[in-house]
């Protein structure tokens, strides 16, 4: 909260997840890691927030009520106002086809839950760095990161 006063604008992460514990856990760590966070719990809400706030990156859970993550991503990627925003898909579905579906919907990255908050931050930074050099030019880089399997 104290860092909000700083003149340099923090990078804004739109965190879309209907599961509150997961959303707040990631939000807590993202704030801890120096990001601003805006929440959404449905696809429709995610689209509204994205248009409203123009986040730097969107973290999209795919299983959402009202409108699922795939549909929301497709909508955002077809809207010129939001199409340049990188979208990282986040899902508990561990199946390969889900990742393909996300890629087809326009996601820039795909993360399987469970995903440790520090790994999530690493991935967000990678995606943001990839989109930085030409911010005006939307870059669609596919990236897949699987959660490290614990032993």
């Amino acid at each position: 909260m104290m860092r909000a006063k700083e003149p340099r604008r923090k990078q804004l992460v739109l965190l879309v997840d209907d599961y509150v514990d997961a959303r707040e856990m990631y939000a807590k760590y993202l704030v801890f890691s120096g990001f601003d966070v805006v929440h959404a719990s449905t696809g429709v809400e995610a689209i509204d927030r994205a248009r409203e706030r123009k986040p730097d990156v969107i973290l999209m859970d795919l299983s959402l009520p009202v409108m699922d993550g795939w549909q929301a991503t497709r909508t955002l990627k077809t809207d010129p106002n939001t199409s340049t925003i990188p979208v990282l898909a986040l899902t508990s579905h561990a199946l390969g086809r889900v990742a393909e579906g996300a890629s087809n919907a326009g996601c820039d990255g795909f993360i399987t839950k469970p995903c440790l908050p520090e790994d999530l931050v690493t991935e967000i930074r990678r995606v943001l760095k990839a989109s930085e050099p030409s911010a005006s030019q939307p870059q669609r880089r596919r990236s897949r990161t699987h959660a490290k399997k614990a032993n």
Binding site: D21, A22, M25, H93, L116, K149, A150
Partner: protein
Amino acid sequence: MIARRRVRVETEQTNERLRLVETLLGNHELTTCVESAMEWLERTWHIERAMCLGRSDDGAVLRPIAWRGFADETVGQFMLPTADRFHPLVKVLRKRKLTSFPSARNNGKHQRPATPFGDDAFQAVGLRSTRFANEPIGLLLTDAPAILAPELDWFASVLAQKLENLVQLPMDALDREQEHERSLLLRIINAISDPILLSDVEGRMVLANGPALRLFVASEEESEGRRDAVRLNNMLLSAALSTHAMAQTESMRKELTLVSPVDGSDLVFELLNVVIEDARSGTGVLSILRNVSDLSHAVSQFEENNRKLKQAEAETRAERDRLNLVIDSVADPIVVTDAGGSISLVNEPAERLFTSTEADKPAVQRRVRTNDARFSSFVAGLLLKDDERLTAEISLVNPENGEALPVEAIAGKVVTHHGEMTAIVSILHDRREAIEKNRLYEQLKRASGELEKKVQIATKDIEHQNELLRQQALALTQASMMKTQFLSNMSHEFRTPLNAILGYTSILQQGVAGKLGRDAKEQLERIASNGRHLLTIVNEILDISQIEAGRMPVRVTTFRVSDMINEVRAELDPIVRTAGLAVSIDVPESIPRIASDRQKLKQVLLNLMSNAVKFTPRGKVGIAVRYHAKPKSIAIAVSDTGIGIAETDQERIFEDFQQLDNSSTRVYNGTGLGLAICRRFVRMLRGNISVVSRVGSGSTFTVTIPVGPS
């Protein structure tokens, strides 16, 4: 009896005739002789009216000598002038046989002379001299019935012989006799069909019969051809005779070919010449020509007939042999019975049934008699009927062993074209085979029916089973789908809270919520460790369900084995270090890039290695890789110095949900799915996994997979 009576009658008649001859021999006076003959006639043949006429001394008339049944004055007037050639009774004198004059009332056709018989029927027979031909001696007239004609002829000849010596014959009768003899000679030689001719020494023809005249004499009126033939024949004969004259033999036979004046054909004769010495007319040659062209023709005809006869005989014999062969070759017994019912012909099979010898056993003989009796009654059945054929079943027995032998007997009559039955032919057909066939057929039909029923039942059963199986398969598919869906959902539902647990734990550990004490850090690590373990379980369950659902395809890429092994080692580094184990990696640099499913192979190695670490309290774990060029394959051995696996358990560990210690107090965590997943992955990669282990000294798991392009 009849025959004997006839014989006696004939004997009596012979005796009567002898008596007549005796009577006549004992009499030398004409009238008494005739008188006694008339008396014999009346007595013997009961002829009531008869009269015998005798020749007058000059032979001009015949007048009655003796008679029976007529008044003397009637007969006394009767007289027959022999010069009257047209008188019916004079005609009778020239005949040899009796002549009947029927009653004038019945027949007016015949010219009837006036006789003492008036209009009544009568017989007339001439009494003729045998020495002086045709010279009439007398005439017998009777009213005997026609049936006695032969007897009267005999009577007349006997009487004539007697009267010949008693009547006065004229002196010129001897000359007439000579003339008669000459004409008789001519008649004789004319009656002979062979040409006969008598020639004098000069070769002139003195006497010739008709056939000779036809060959050697031709009149002026006859055709030129015939006269030429006759001239030729004369020349040929003269030549033959002169040859004969030179030969000077008594008689000789030779062949002489002449020409037929009638049709010009060749006639072959056998010429027989006989030299005849005659005091009056000098020496002559009698030639007899026997036509042998007919004879040779007859001989050849005879030979031809003989040949035909022999041929017919041979054919008949062959036919009979063939028939015998046919009859004998028929397996069915054939019996030919004659019209009297007794067996006349049997073939070999029938012989076995119906004949026996003294040498046979009594039982065999008895059975043969039984067969004979049954067959005889069958044949008798046909004999008594008008039918041509009869078919019946007869129960015979096999004479050899007494077994029942039911036969179907077919008998037919053999009838000549006169309609006379000569034989009965019976064929006995063994019914046993037919009966047996029928029985087998019935049995087969029954069995077939039963089989059909069974098949129907079985088919229904199978249909039912199929339906059940289909339903089960459907249910299984549904269950499998539901299971996959359930596991997928469960995986999702597990991951969501696990994500939160692991996330918050990590945040706490990093001190986001403030600085933590040592105990708190350690306890948070326990939470993290258990969370990770739970995640492993969830992942393994998901893997199994994906493999079973066939949703885990093989993705082949080309990579370096050493790179993959390094990744494995890096990922396991934390737990290896925690366990305090030594790690050895043996991957030769020469191993080329291989083609396989990198992710699956890596997961297998991670699993094997983590197991090795888990079950090795102290010592070391290691990975050794070996490459084989032909066929391209690699063998990766993961070894440890751990607790080992008993030999009896070494196969079981690869099965689903198997962990050797299933007790609730077990020391080692795990789903027991790890090795099962390993084996499935290795098989998907067309390789195999094996283990060598000894309890207490460690285990070595070896994965061998082909790595060439498949």
